[in-house]
């Protein structure tokens, strides 16, 4: 079965000569549909670069990036743009909602840009807003929404349609821990619903919502967690207190 995202020996170098910076070095990463992966690492470890390359917002210096089995470098720029619109959803730290559009119009936008008729796009976007529990805020503008609601709309926009890959860069932003947790719950639910999710975060508590945590250091994958055992093991640990 084809993985939703595969990075093979991906490197990214900025600048050249003495100012050369190796942001990523020979990174391998495989993310399947139904899986939420968190990428952790200190500032400057290459987390955000990994995400922008995975999302085709930036090109790798070397290596291969495959989305749904299609190598990004092997297709035309217009096909890549179509993949970005159809297959990949992005969630950013500052939500990136367009202030002049309502919640519904923001969620509809990617579909309309992709040529989906307005009526059909609207129906699909309402479904996404419903899934995220903000359908009742559909006619509100971003500045009329709370931080948590804005991020729900941003996630709805990212999963609207048939996207298979959801990429999130510090998606809980300045939200408090309980609202941040709500965002991670939604991303986890979206992933377990059949989307492949990759979340970049420096917060361990948010990363712990992921099925797998990958650790980056100086542009390299240095480690990753193994699948956590069930909650019974915690009860057994508690018994020994």
């Amino acid at each position: 079965m084809t993985s939703a995202l595969e990075l093979r020996q991906v490197s990214k170098v900025y600048g050249s000569g003495p100012t050369e910076v190796h942001a990523l070095s020979e990174v391998d990463l495989l993310v399947e549909r139904g899986e939420l992966v968190a990428v952790m690492g200190p500032s400057g470890s290459g987390k955000s670069t990994l995400l922008t390359i995975a999302g085709s917002l930036e090109e790798a210096t070397s290596g291969e990036v495959l989305v749904d089995g299609i190598e990004l470098a092997a297709v035309s720029a217009s096909d890549r743009a179509r993949m970005r619109r159809r297959s990949i959803g992005y969630v950013f730290q500052d939500f990136n909602l367009l202030p002049g559009l309502t919640a519904l119009e923001n969620a509809t936008l990617p579909l309309e840009l992709d040529g989906v008729p307005a009526r059909a796009a609207r129906v699909t976007a309402i479904e996404a807003l419903e899934e995220l529990g903000v359908a009742d805020r559909a006619d509100r503008y971003p500045d009329e929404l709370s931080g948590g609601e804005r991020q729900r709309v941003a996630i709805a926009r990212a999963i609207v349609g048939e996207r298979g890959l959801l990429l999130a860069d510090e998606p809980t932003g300045a939200l408090d821990s309980v609202n941040g947790e709500a965002v991670m719950r939604l991303l986890r639910t979206a992933a377990h619903g059949g989307v492949a999710g990759v979340v970049v975060t420096h917060e361990a508590q948010l990363a712990s919502w992921a099925d797998r945590v990958v650790f980056l250091r100086d542009g390299r994958v240095v480690d990753q967690t193994v699948a956590p055992p069930g909650p019974e093991s915690l009860l057994a640990a508690g018994d020994r207190r």
Binding site: A204, S208, V222, P229, P231, L234, L235
Partner: protein
């Protein structure tokens, strides 16, 4: 977790039998702190001896009904307002391991830090899994899981800070030969 005070809190709702106290204790702590029935009765005996609870009913412990006394109610109110001991234990095993790693020649301290970071996050994933699987209105369980998660997160933050501090430190110069007596100093082995 103070079992005596947790039992007093449950009894403040009204008189109860020992078995019910055990069940309620576990369900209200999200079953993260299991408590066996023997522990419940031993604790209740001590509370009775100290005048914090009184009993009615038969000699058979399972048929005894426990009731909180006025002294017990005051003790519970005082305990709720008394800050816990926040002074850290004199020796934190993880801190000691990292300090020792700094002294062992050829040790990649960053790798040691990462081993512990991964382990702590794996434990955090387990608590998060408990929270994710719980009913949305199970607030006690969420509170218990949150407490553990914040405690563990603090460890990860310490490991992250240690990583950055060690990276910023200059590499240690070559260690002196073992047979040369030197004044004990703080030395650092940091792999870049």
């Amino acid at each position: 977790m103070s079992v005596p005070h947790a039992l007093l809190a449950l009894l403040s709702e009204g008189p109860k039998f020992g078995l019910r106290l055990q069940n309620e204790f576990e369900s209200r702590t999200g079953e993260v702190w299991p408590l066996n029935v023997g522990q419940v009765y031993t604790t209740l005996q001590r509370l009775e001896r100290d005048g914090l609870v009184e009993t009615e009913g038969e000699a058979d412990r399972s048929r005894k009904l426990f009731r909180i006394t006025a002294v017990g109610t005051r003790e519970l109110a005082d305990w709720l307002r008394t800050p816990p001991d926040l002074v850290p234990p004199p020796r934190d095993e993880l801190v000691i391991k990292v300090l020792v790693a700094l002294q062992v020649p050829g040790t990649d301290v960053h790798e040691i830090l990462q081993v512990h970071r991964r382990h702590v996050i794996e434990v955090m994933q387990r608590y998060t899994k408990v929270k994710a699987a719980a009913a949305e209105d199970d607030v006690p369980l969420a509170l218990v899981a949150d407490a553990e998660l914040f405690r563990l997160e603090a460890i990860v933050r310490w490991l992250d800070a240690a990583d950055v501090r060690l990276k910023q430190m200059p590499s240690r110069t070559a260690a002196p030969p073992a047979d040369v007596p030197v004044e004990p100093t703080r030395t650092t082995e940091v792999s870049q």
